[in-house]
Assembly symmetry: C2
Homo-oligomer: 133 residues x 2
DNA sequence: ATGAAGGTTCCAGTCAGGGGAGGGTCAAGG
DNA sequence: CCTTGACCCTCCCCTGACTGGAACCTTCAT
């Protein structure tokens, strides 16, 4: 299989697949003409990577996860621990975004949004302490 | 005021302040010795930037917001529109993260997390269609 | 023989800064 | 007068996870 086939089957851009080879996540063979030659195992690894990335794991996490996957004597606790760490990072990001969202949507709600210049969003950004309302 | 004072007053790292000058967001004067010399207006702009960044606006958004702030004849609709676009990007990110969170926490819940190798997280990543449970 | 559609490598750019080298400046103390 | 330490300066490389593009090679169909 050439990279184009693998790309359409895995859903990953060819650029991404080359990048994954660059950083050592996959090691496809080469044909005589220099083209990468993928076998089923490569496709499987790429699909694994695609799913792990879709869950937001970093590349380094993916490397660890693949190592655990190949290690038949792994402890599921190790996998679970990694996933939980990642989960709490996700939760942190959601909290941060939610805070931004709440503040900003409040400001947006207060803004008339017409052709007059007065704007509570800019007022807030400029640091008027928005006091005593 | 030197950059150190401005840094501690604005809460922004000196590196960030220099970077903001680099990309043209502020233009502090220089003393004879080459040091940046900040006046109150610079501090105000930096505080504005800090708050806008804390709300997740990109640097380019900040540039636009500052231009709107300085334009006395702006329409609040323009500000509101920018804020709403940003808000919907935030909402998209929250949705994405929430989806990851839900999937991953379900997998984590199903993982024994002991010293045995069997692990539903890895099983899912490896593409077992997880069917008929 | 030619043209299109694939493949290859390598370089540069993204975003918003962070880290550190190598060096100049300033105020206080000995 | 000299030194010490705390500032400040510029410059360059690094981050993550790719993406875009240039310049070039291979394969296949016409």
């Amino acid at each position: 299989m050439n990279i184009g086939d693998v790309s359409s089957r895995s859903g990953l851009p060819a650029k991404t697949i080359r990048y994954y080879e660059d950083i050592g996540l996959i090691k496809p063979l080469r044909s005589a003409n220099g083209y990468r030659s993928f076998v089923a195992a490569d496709l499987h690894r790429l699909a694994f990577l695609g799913r792990a990335r879709a869950l937001g794991f970093t590349i380094e996490d993916c490397r660890t996860l693949m190592a655990l996957y190949r290690d038949e004597s792994r402890a599921s606790a190790d996998v679970k621990h990694l996933a939980q760490e990642h989960l709490s990072k996700i939760e942190g990001k959601i909290r941060d975004l939610q805070t931004m969202h709440d503040t900003l949507s409040e400001l947006v709600k207060c803004c008339a949004g017409d052709d007059r210049p007065d704007c509570p969003i800019l007022r807030d950004l400029s640091g008027i302490s928005a006091a005593l309302s």
